[in-house]
């Protein structure tokens, strides 16, 4: 998958990128603010995105999520504060995630997105424990 990372901590973004590449994915861009995220999402049209909620310009990750959803780009939040996520919005990988937790979440997500009609195949009950499902989970 072509993946966009939206994360204002450069070290965390770098490590996440390594993990994704090791798992055979391509990181198509790294944004640290809402403006960068929106510009990269439009320019690169990623297949998927990891979105931190607290970005360089404040808690703007939620808004990034809304724009991605509008543009039909599936994503999950990556955040230390699940309570910030509006109900019925997207699923999340909670910080600090473990390597195992991330691998399992990624495996679930990439298996799911192989289906064009992935929403039908999504089952929050079968999602790995590292992926905290919202009712709509990794929604677009």
């Amino acid at each position: 998958m072509n993946i966009l990372i939206v994360e204002d901590e450069a070290l965390l973004a770098l490590e996440l990128q390594s993990e994704l590449e090791e798992a055979g994915h391509h990181v198509t861009g790294h944004a640290m603010s809402m403006g960068e995220a929106v510009a990269l999402a439009e320019a690169r049209r990623p297949d998927f995105a990891f979105v931190d909620i607290h970005l360089r310009d404040g808690p703007t990750g939620i808004e990034v999520g809304r724009i991605l959803a509008r543009d039909n780009i599936p994503f999950v939040f990556v955040t230390g504060n699940l309570k910030r996520i509006p109900e019925d919005f997207a699923g999340a990988i909670e910080k600090p995630y473990s390597q195992n937790g991330l691998h399992n979440a990624l495996a679930y997500i990439s298996a799911l997105l192989r289906h064009a009609d992935w929403r039908v195949h999504h089952d929050p009950g079968r999602a790995p424990p590292g992926l905290v499902p919202a009712p709509a989970c990794i929604r677009a």
């Binding site: 230390g80 600090p96 195992n100």
Partner: protein
């Protein structure tokens, strides 16, 4: 009728009233001498004038008896007298009914007093109203105290409101601070883990990689403790059962083997937050030990138990694996963590090996973690 003739009529009526009583009439004497201000009016004369007033009434109002006779009671009214109160009195007199009314009245010098006025009609044998009798009670003092009480109460309410607002602001600031610290701790724990992962990734030395992976494993367990602590609404409690369930599923799934079977017998066991780390590390060591001794190499069975049993709290991990040689230093490190954490919470460790099945049972009296624990 002129002012003078009006007063003459009233005086005559007053005298007639007095004359009907002998001079030693105790009622008349009482009327004159009482400290209760009183007047009598004659409704049969035009404009219902005062025909008699006592000394107490003059003392209250500042008007002499001469100034009062022939005048209507409205001379006590002033700009701030409530017209509705006046109207109620007027209506009662028109209907010849007794009336009790608090009213703001004015003295001759223009000062005011609160008057608890009571008026009652006096009837003759034929039932006609021949007089109105009115008594007054100056309750300005009471009104004043009421006002003082009301103002004191208002001041108290304002103080409470102000302090509540301050407390609420302080609580909000504190909540924000907790969230900020929580956010920092989580980011820092993830940053520490990321640094270790990066170095492990860069390193080409197998031993270095394994060592860093070993450290990472424990750091991540600590991270998971913190994550679980703040996910619960009650940040003072930690559910060891929930932690064990997530840990074993995460660890085993990440091995990507379909020849591993997990079984669990897990109940919620809530412990105080300060016991979370040692208990979580115990679970982590037990699961990690099973993985190292063969689960990751040849698959097998793993059974995890977290529950209360006979007044004890038990954590037990059984595995059935084809044993593989384990790095002795890694094994030593794992045992050291397990034993040290067990010592901290006052737990005993029993290890039983039967063929390819190994069971490690950690038992601690519920009393050791009793505060806040439940099954």
């Amino acid at each position: 009728m002129s002012e003078d003739s009006h007063r003459d009529g009233a005086e005559r009526a007053g005298r007639a009233l007095l004359d009907s009583h002998v001079s030693e009439d105790p009622f008349a004497a009482a009327f004159k001498a009482t400290r209760m201000p009183m007047i009598i009016t004659d409704p049969r004369q035009e404009d219902n004038p005062i025909i008699f007033s006592n000394r107490a009434f003059s003392e209250l109002t500042g008007y002499s008896q001469d100034e009062l006779i022939g005048r209507n009671c409205r001379l006590l009214q002033g700009p701030d007298t409530d017209p509705a109160a006046v109207e109620r009195i007027r209506e009662a007199i028109r209907q010849e009914l007794p009336v009790s009314q608090d009213i703001l009245n004015y003295r001759k010098d223009g000062s005011t007093f609160w008057n608890a006025l009571f008026i009652s009609p006096v009837r003759n044998d034929q039932g006609d109203v021949i007089y109105f009798f009115a008594s007054q009670l100056d309750f300005s003092g009471i009104r004043h105290r009421e006002a003082e009480l009301a103002s004191a109460r208002q001041a108290a309410e304002e103080t409470v409101l102000r302090q509540t607002t301050d407390l609420r602001a302080a609580l909000e600031a504190k909540t924000m601070l907790v969230h900020e610290v929580d956010h920092r701790v989580k980011n820092n724990l993830l940053t520490i883990a990321s640094l270790i992962r990066m170095q492990a990734r860069i390193s080409t030395n197998r031993t270095v990689k394994d060592t860093l992976k070993s450290v990472l494993d424990r750091v991540e367990a600590m991270g998971m403790v913190h994550r679980k602590l703040f996910t619960m609404d009650d940040v003072a409690r930690f559910d060891v059962g929930e932690f064990a369930r997530e840990l074993v599923v995460d660890v085993v799934s990440a091995l990507r083997r379909d020849d591993i079977r997990i079984t669990m017998d897990i109940s919620p066991v809530l412990v105080p937050a300060n016991r979370a780390s040692p208990l979580a590390l115990i679970v982590n060591e037990l699961v990690g030990d099973a993985v190292r001794r063969g689960l990751k190499d040849g698959g097998g069975l793993i059974h995890v138990q977290v529950r209360r049993l006979n007044g004890h709290f038990i954590i037990s991990v059984s595995d059935t694996v084809e044993p593989v040689p384990v790095d002795p230093e890694e094994q030593q490190f794992g045992r050291l963590i397990l034993e040290t954490c067990a010592k901290q919470v006052g737990a005993t460790i029993e290890r039983e090996e039967r063929g390819v099945e190994t069971t490690v049972l950690v038992t601690l009296p519920v009393g050791n973690i009793a505060e806040g624990s439940q099954s």
